[in-house]
Symmetry: C2
Subunit: 413 residues, 2 copies
Amino acid sequence: MALIVQKFGGTSVADAQKIKRAAQRVAQAYKEGNQVVVVVSAMGRTTDELFDLAHQITERPPAREMDMLASTGEQISIALMAMAIHALGYEAISFTGGQVGIITDSRHTKARILKIDTKRILQELDSGRIVVVAGYQGVDAYNNITTLGRGGSDATAVALAAKLKADMCDIFTDVNGIYTADPRIVPEASKLEKISYDELLELASLGAQVMQARSIEFAKKYNVPLRVRPSYNESLGTLVCQEAKEMEDIVVSGAAVTKDEAKLTIRGVPDRPGVAARLFGEIARHNINVDIIIQNIGSHGMTDVTFTVPKDDLPEAVDVAKRMKEELKAQEVSADSHIAKLSVVGIGMRSHCGVAEKMFSALAQEGINIQMISTSEIKISCVIDEAQAERALKAVHKAFELHKVGERTGVRG
Amino acid sequence: MALIVQKFGGTSVADAQKIKRAAQRVAQAYKEGNQVVVVVSAMGRTTDELFDLAHQITERPPAREMDMLASTGEQISIALMAMAIHALGYEAISFTGGQVGIITDSRHTKARILKIDTKRILQELDSGRIVVVAGYQGVDAYNNITTLGRGGSDATAVALAAKLKADMCDIFTDVNGIYTADPRIVPEASKLEKISYDELLELASLGAQVMQARSIEFAKKYNVPLRVRPSYNESLGTLVCQEAKEMEDIVVSGAAVTKDEAKLTIRGVPDRPGVAARLFGEIARHNINVDIIIQNIGSHGMTDVTFTVPKDDLPEAVDVAKRMKEELKAQEVSADSHIAKLSVVGIGMRSHCGVAEKMFSALAQEGINIQMISTSEIKISCVIDEAQAERALKAVHKAFELHKVGERTGVRG
């Protein structure tokens, strides 16, 4: 008998009809002889509606009370899901995060799971029940309700799967699986049958928006097999797992483009030790995440430093950079928020050469200028003009023949 | 420093604007130097909407899951109320029933409070915070969420007030206080400044619909002073308290009419010992509450038995009566659901004569036939034709000059 965790996102439980359909999938897994733990998000736009209500009351609601409010969204879903399973003739019991022993730290609205006491869940599973757990929430050591922030329901599902040593964690969502590129931009993108945690991590942080990085990291750490599946058909979606030998045959698994960064350049920085440490130390003190950093080889004792930051943090980063310009006696600060970051990802890169060259050629043929380059073991990223983002993604997708990746593995969306 | 419990019903927190207004009343009480515990119901129609959702899923939702669902309504209210108080510059902290140690039995959707652990509330009050508690809910011994059924938020407020030995329990509602009769039927009804628990109990169970009987009983038992007040103006409403000497001067404090009962007659019942016990024992076994019972003096060894039951239970009561007719060899069963019960209430009745006569005369003058009569120490009830209910209430209200009761005490709605 296998133990399966099934997570249904907000769009998969958006109304009574969809909840009933999701309940049928749960019942199906149970009928097939599995123990089933279901994790549910809030219905569709419920969380947004609750936030709207809060902002009708006050501009700055206390975080603790926001969590008290927001957590009701998932509580509604679990009750309805348990009812729907019950209506199909199976015993189901719902639990809030607190009831099921999901203990977090006290950082309201973005808490982290510290531990899970699975006693009650195991007890209910052993008595033949399907257990329905509210995603996105827990309680702190003082029994205050906390929420886990963006992607919190995935975090709940993966953490429960890890703790329960589940055989599979199904993440039901409104996409068919993980694609070689965003199908809204690249219609010929193909669905991957399998992808490694590391590749998905790079894609997630690159804006593929399938799952939040923290849940994938957690799944990787505890080796929880994930399946990103559509809730609206029987497709098995994409399996996310440890790297396997055959995966290396695929040099590049996917490409993604993100527009949420901005570029900052400080020209004429004195080229001496400690300057970079001083500059980026100051940026870090303002809690601004720097992604790519480029420093050219200097001449005449001067150099230029260019780096990217989240678009939202640009005004603050510019302030810091201007102060640093004075302090370091640099020449000029300039900023550009009209950039995009294009990346290709694949564990096969490690054992294959020429990936960077192929990417750069594809962009050159399209007349797209590369402003910055950054690479990791399994990823190459280029910063380009924002206006060329979609065209660049299509060109790269075509150059690596990514439309064949899904075909080759015999599964297509 | 006094401790005040303030309860706001659903209409008093129906939207963001009303929640803000309620928060101002809370802040006012706090500013005046009181410790304040606020109990809140779900916003306006929230509970109905949640029930609608449940019934879109299944006709027969399990009671445990209904409680899981319904309890979110109050949880939303407490979070918003705490935010609203916070926005006024005061520290507030919200708690679900479970968090604040309201332990109930496990009878889902109609649980009873078993005990309250006030440690956390007292701790927060002592640190200067306003404590906001979700009405209508608790947890059972296994930490399952339970709800208290109709009037549950009043029950929470009164139970907390009793346990905390509060100096006052304010029940904020959408009426100006307690009236000598329903002002929608009798426009000249006047508001009472004071009423005893016992009188309100009779009025509540008679359909005055201000508060549920269980909360009044509880307040009486623990001598919790209640104030039924409007949330929309500064009126002090009506004080509900122990009987005081001067209350006896008012012979009749109020009149009420209810249409939720039906009448059942079994004719030609053998007039011998044990027959009534057999009949009403059988009715009780079907969990049907019998209110008034009339048995005429028999003749020729036969008698007629008439009794009233809740309208909803009439079909089942008729079934039972027909089976009993066969068993007891009685002659005929007839039912009438078009009846109303008119009652006058007042502790002054105990020391004044002629109340029944005045009531009967008033009805006679209006040509209204009395079908059944029932009396208690402080109440006289008459069953009449449903169509004459409003006219009868007006006549009785006038006969006892109830429009002067409020005037006499110097307070008028």
